[in-house]
Symmetry: C2
Subunit: 117 residues, 2 copies
DNA sequence: CATCATACCTTGCCGTGAAAGGTATGGCAA
DNA sequence: TTGCCATACCTTTCACGGCAAGGTATGATG
């Protein structure tokens, strides 16, 4: 085990961004609102979270950007690269395993639990 | 800023500790291992995480401690107070809502999705 | 013309988790 | 005996991620 899963709770904003962009190319401001709406206001990530994530993701080659002007408004659209797809699968897998693990703790004595009479 | 809703991802170590202690009183070292075992090694929180959590929880009146000596070994057992039960329910609810929200983003277009016909 | 909504971005703070180190004792093996 | 590992407690230190807040610019609206 070369690398322990340190920071086990992080990367959720990244995960959400990647997942949304997978459906169609989107721009930052749009993502902020999409996350709010799709989560029924349960998750409200500000622009101060989204933009840095977007830039980091692009730097890593997980996203590619192209600038468009719509109605005189300049937008930076991001779309998923092949690297981004892998990154998404990776993060989604981690998240899934994490929540299952937590669930198995919350869910009481081990499923195949040893009942020491 | 005690009950701040920000930092939406935090409090999981706390949640796990409270949940485990609910079943029976436990001591720090034991909790570290219990979390590892119950999560099938998916979550490995060190003592540097657990002890501070324990102390904070006791300070807040969510846990009560009593020292025992077993086999010449001194252990500090923690058990859940009424306040702790409430805290647990609270955290568990938050966690549940959070994971559902994330799931509803990951799961694609809204469940009760508006099909703009 | 002023104000709001859109759209982008950065700086700086702070909480949290994690590593690492420190103390002490009991058990076991060399 | 000595030394080392496991048990058991605890603290200090650090890094990083999320977030508020602030800053720029432009189009629409009244």
């Amino acid at each position: 085990m070369a690398e322990n899963n340190s920071n086990f709770m992080s990367g959720v904003p990244e995960l959400l961004v990647l997942r949304l962009v997978r459906e169609k190319e989107m721009y930052g401001y749009e993502l902020v609102q999409a996350i709010r709406e799709r989560s029924n206001d349960a998750i409200a990530l500000g622009e101060g979270v989204i933009y840095p994530v977007l830039h980091a993701l692009e730097r890593d080659g997980a996203l590619s950007s192209n600038r468009k002007t719509v109605n005189g408004r300049s937008r930076v659209y991001y779309s998923l690269t092949a690297t981004g797809v892998r990154r998404l699968d990776d993060l989604a897998g981690n998240w899934s395993r994490l929540t299952e693990a937590i669930q198995s703790v919350l869910g009481g004595p081990a499923i195949g639990g040893v009942s020491h009479a």
